[in-house]
C-alpha cells in the first residue's frame, strides 16, 4: 500500500468550471470542453499559458463514434503542444481524471495541470443505449440481448435481497437528489417529487423504475490543479487533495457477490489512509458518492464506509428521514449538488461535477446548495466499467 510520506508534493484544486448538463446540447464536445476549461482557468485566475499539462477524461468512444476521442477533443481541452493524455475507466472516469492530474503534480513533473471531463451522449442517436451494449462480452452476454440497465437491476435486487432494504427506502434518495438539484443552475432533471412518484413511475428493468435512474446527458466539467507553492500564490482558499484511491475488481461480474462494492472500499481505504482518516463518518463533513441510480448512493456510501453494510438507509423510512440524515442540514450531507439523478449524467463529466461540488462546498461558494456544517473535509467518488471500479478523492480546506 502507498506510504503517504512518499508522496512528493501536496496538490490543491484552485479553480473549477462546468457547462449546463442537458439531454442534447448544440455545442460539440470540443466546444463544451473549451467552455468548462476556460471557466476553470478564469476561476483560478490563470490562462492556458500557465498550464503545464492537460488530462482528458471521456467515457466510451462509441458515444461520439470517433474512436480516438482523446485526440478528437484535444484542441478544445487546451492540449495543443503540451503533455496531454486521456484516461478512461468507464463511469469511474470523472473522478479518475483529477486523480491522474493529481499524480502529474504530486510527482513533481508539473506545477499546474488542467483536468477536463467531457461526454456527449446525444451524438449516438436516437439513444446511446445501443452503444452501451458494446461494453458487454460479445460471446457470453451480448447474445442474450443485454442492455446496460440489466446489470444495475441485478445489483439492486441483490443489495435489497441480502439486506432486506425496501424500494420505498431507496426511492427517498431520488427524492432528495432531484430536490437538491433545484438549486443547481446546470441541472437537467431537478424536480420536486415524492416517494410515491418514484414507485408509480414506469418500470424499466425491475426493480429499476424510471425515476430511480439518471438520464443520458451532454456536458463538460473541469478543475485546475496546482502544486503547493503555486496554489499559495494563486489563491487564499486552496482546496487540498489529501487522498486519492482507485481499485478494480474482476471483469467476470457474474462471479462476484454484487451486494457490496468491495473495490470501492479498497479505493476508499487507499484514499483515507493517505489523508489520515481513521473514522470516515466522523471525519467527513460532506460526501458526493456516485448516484447514477438511487440505490447506488446507498451502495457507495457503504463502500466508502460512511455507513455499515446494509445500514445506510436503516433509519430512513420516508422523505423526512432522508433529509434529516443526508440533507444539506442533515447529520451528513450527501449529494448536496443534486447528484447524477438531479444534475444529469454525462458520464465522465458527472464524476468531475462531484469533484467541482466538493471544491465549491469546501470554499463556501455553493450558494443555495451550501451545506450547513461548515465543512472542512469532503469526499467525491465515482464508479463504473462492468460494476468493477471505484475512484475516490478526499479533499480538505
Amino acid at each position: 500500500m502507498m506510504d503517504p510520506g512518499r508522496v512528493k508534493r501536496r496538490v490543491a484544486v484552485v479553480g473549477a468550471g462546468m457547462t449546463l448538463f442537458r439531454r442534447r446540447l448544440k455545442e460539440t464536445g470540443r466546444e463544451l470542453s473549451f467552455y468548462a476549461a476556460k471557466m476553470a482557468l478564469e476561476q483560478a485566475g490563470i490562462t492556458l499559458r500557465d498550464v503545464d499539462a492537460v488530462v482528458c477524461g471521456s467515457a466510451p468512444d462509441a458515444f461520439d463514434g470517433v474512436h480516438m476521442k482523446g485526440e478528437y477533443l484535444l484542441d478544445g481541452m487546451g492540449g495543443h503542444c503540451r503533455p496531454y493524455m486521456r484516461v478512461f475507466v468507464g463511469g469511474g472516469t470523472g473522478v479518475f481524471t483529477p486523480i491522474a492530474a493529481w499524480w502529474h503534480v504530486a510527482s513533481g513533473h508539473f506545477d499546474i495541470v488542467l483536468a477536463i471531463a467531457e461526454e456527449k451522449m446525444s451524438s449516438c442517436h436516437p439513444h446511446p443505449q445501443k452503444a452501451f451494449t458494446t461494453i458487454f462480452d460479445p460471446m457470453l452476454t451480448r447474445p442474450l440481448g443485454a442492455n446496460l440497465v440489466w446489470i444495475f437491476a441485478l445489483e439492486m435486487m441483490r443489495y435489497m435481497s441480502v439486506h432486506g432494504v425496501k424500494k420505498e427506502q431507496i426511492a427517498t434518495i431520488a427524492v432528495k437528489n432531484k430536490r437538491n438539484a433545484l438549486d443547481h443552475p446546470c441541472a437537467q432533471l431537478p424536480a420536486k417529487i415524492t416517494v410515491q412518484d418514484v414507485l408509480n413511475s414506469e418500470v424499466m428493468v425491475w426493480p429499476v423504475q424510471r425515476l430511480d435512474i439518471s438520464p443520458p446527458s451532454d456536458g463538460a466539467a473541469a478543475v485546475v490543479l496546482a502544486s503547493e507553492h503555486m496554489a499559495k500564490q494563486l489563491t487564499d482558499d486552496p482546496v487540498w487533495i489529501d487522498g486519492v484511491g482507485w481499485c478494480l475488481d474482476s471483469t467476470y461480474w457474474t462471479n462476484r457477490d454484487l451486494y457490496y462494492p468491495k473495490y470501492v472500499e479498497y479505493a476508499a481505504r487507499m484514499a483515507y489512509r493517505m489523508a489520515g482518516i481513521k473514522d470516515p463518518p466522523k471525519e467527513i463533513d460532506v460526501a458526493e458518492p456516485y448516484d447514477p441510480f438511487d440505490y447506488k448512493e446507498a451502495h457507495h456510501a457503504e463502500g466508502l464506509m460512511l455507513a455499515r453494510k446494509g445500514e445506510y438507509l436503516k433509519d430512513v423510512k420516508d422523505e423526512n428521514d432522508i433529509f434529516a440524515k443526508y440533507g444539506r442540514d442533515g447529520d451528513l450531507p450527501v449529494c448536496p449538488s443534486g447528484g447524477l439523478l438531479g444534475v444529469g449524467n454525462p458520464i465522465a463529466a458527472a464524476g468531475m461535477m462531484k469533484v467541482c461540488e466538493i471544491f465549491w462546498q469546501l470554499r463556501g461558494e455553493a450558494g443555495r446548495r451550501q451545506v450547513k456544517n461548515d465543512p472542512r473535509t469532503g469526499v467525491a467518488q465515482a464508479w463504473g466499467d462492468l460494476m468493477q471500479i471505484g475512484t475516490v478523492i478526499v479533499m480538505r480546506r
Binding site: T19, T141, A153, L154, T254, D257, L258, R363
Partner: protein, 175 residues
C-alpha cells in the same frame, strides 16, 4: 456551480428539432464487422454447450471451479489445472425483469434474467441467463432452476444453445 460564476454555457435542443431538421446535424453510421476468436477456454465452453453440457476450469491452488472457464486463475495468477463439468441445474443469486431491449426499446413481453450459480461451480460463481416457464412475480433469490436446451440440431455453439432456465419441479433433483 459556484456563486462566483454568473454565466454557464450550453444550448439545449429537443429530439423533435433534430428530426425535423431544425438543428443542423451530420449523419453517419460506422460499418465495422467483427469475427472474434473464441479463444482456448471459451472455445471449449461453447463447443460443450453444443453437446448439451456446461464446462468450467478448476484451479487447484484456490480450489475454485470457474464458469465461464478461463485458462488462468485471476486470484492465483497461474494457469488453471483441469476441465470440470458442472450441472445444468443451479440457484438464482439475483434476478430482474426487463421491459427494455438492447436499444432501450420497450418490449411487449418482459424478459426475466438471472445470475445463476450452477451446481458444481464454486460459491458465488454465477452465469447470466434468461428464465422461462415462470411468472416474474414468482421468481426469488435462492430459487432452484434447470437449463432448457435447444434441440441438438438447433445448437450452434453459443450461450443461446440454452434457451433459458426454468424452475426445478418439485421432487426433481439437481445434480
Amino acid at each position: 456551480m459556484s456563486e462566483r460564476i454568473k454565466e454557464y454555457r450550453g444550448t439545449y435542443y429537443g429530439r423533435k428539432e433534430l428530426e425535423e431538421g431544425l438543428v443542423p446535424a451530420f449523419h453517419d453510421r460506422p460499418y465495422a464487422l467483427y469475427a472474434w476468436a473464441t479463444g482456448v477456454a471459451m472455445g471449449r465452453f461453447l463447443a460443450e454447450l453444443k453437446n448439451g453440457r456446461i464446462i468450467g476450469r478448476r484451479c487447484r491452488r484456490c480450489g475454485r471451479v470457474l464458469v465461464p472457464p478461463r485458462m488462468f486463475c485471476e486470484f492465483c495468477f497461474r494457469p488453471t489445472d483441469e476441465w470440470a463439468y458442472v450441472a445444468d441445474t443451479g440457484t438464482v443469486l439475483t434476478y430482474s425483469v426487463s421491459y427494455l431491449g438492447p436499444a432501450a426499446e420497450r418490449l411487449k413481453e418482459p424478459v426475466v434474467i438471472a445470475v445463476i450459480q450452477l451446481d458444481g461451480a464454486s460459491p458465488g460463481i454465477g452465469i447470466l441467463h434468461k428464465l422461462g416457464e415462470v411468472k416474474p412475480e414468482e421468481v426469488h433469490v435462492g430459487m432452484r432452476v434447470k437449463a432448457v436446451w435447444k434441440a441438438p440440431e438447433e445448437r450452434e455453439g453459443a450461450i443461446t444453445d440454452i434457451a433459458y432456465f426454468r424452475p426445478l419441479k418439485e421432487g426433481e433433483r439437481g445434480r
